[in-house]
């Protein structure tokens, strides 16, 4: 389960809406509690906007610059937090894990996809891709007011 607090969620939605009609991306920082009654619970308390580094049209593509991700990891370490996952938006498109998402994913993180329709947040889902980049399991996602 991944739970996103109000501050982080507001930052993620604001970034997704401000970046519309392009895709946004960012890093989710927080802490993981292992072995709770709900299983492992990832609590996201900070969302870091990252620049979409995809070189072409960004309406349906995003790319995280590795050095930006390294900087987010460094920031998490300094704050005593974990880098828990990556978020990105799907403008005018449902929050599913596309073939492009899967083929460019990493199994170590949660991937939250925010659907933005007509410039406004619509819905979101979280996914856990496998190491072979062939399948992604849906993960329970809890955000404020969901």
């Amino acid at each position: 389960m991944i739970r996103i607090n109000e501050t982080a969620w507001a930052a993620m939605v604001a970034h997704a809406e401000a970046t519309y009609p392009n895709e946004c991306c960012g890093a989710m920082l927080g802490q993981t509690k292992l072995g709770t009654v709900d299983g492992d619970v990832k609590n996201v308390t900070l969302a870091e906007r990252l620049e979409n580094a995809y070189a072409g049209a960004q309406g349906a593509r995003y790319e995280v610059r590795p050095q930006d991700l390294a900087a987010a990891e460094k920031k998490a370490r300094a704050a005593g937090l974990d880098l828990i996952g990556i978020f990105h938006s799907h403008p005018d498109c449902d929050a599913y894990f596309s073939k492009t998402d899967l083929e460019n994913s990493c199994p170590w993180y949660s991937f939250v996809v925010l659907s933005v329709k007509g410039g406004r947040f619509d819905h979101a889902n979280s996914f856990l891709p496998n190491a072979e980049q062939t399948a992604a399991e849906k993960e329970e996602l809890i955000w404020p007011k969901s």
């Binding site: 880098l83 073939k99 990493c106």
Partner: protein, 99 residues
């Protein structure tokens, strides 16, 4: 010995250590020492053919080893190696959803 920073999700395979110090003259040697010390880490970083998974990047200090001498890049005791994944994607590609 060079220091390797371990990303959070991989610490479950390194006895919860967030960094590990290992000897090795090159990136390949240090990475081999890492997966020898923590065998469960191997399948996270390498595929069945023993090649580093496509999404795994290794940085020597702040430089991507792909732009140095790849895994033959020399490593000094004062160096820090970081494991950083490549991540990208997008709704484009398979006509799913309402795009």
């Amino acid at each position: 010995m060079a220091k390797i920073l371990i990303p959070t999700p991989l610490r479950q395979f390194t006895d919860k250590n967030d960094s590990v110090e290992l000897a090795g003259a090159t990136v390949a040697e240090v990475m081999a020492a890492l997966t020898q010390k923590f065998p469960d880490l191997r399948k996270q970083l390498f595929n069945d053919e023993g090649k580093m998974r496509s999404f795994v990047n290794v940085y020597l200090n702040d430089e991507d080893i792909r732009y140095l001498q790849k895994d033959a890049t020399a490593v000094a005791a004062s160096d820090t190696l970081s494991i950083v994944p490549s991540i990208a994607g997008g709704s484009h590609g398979d006509g799913h959803g309402s795009h």
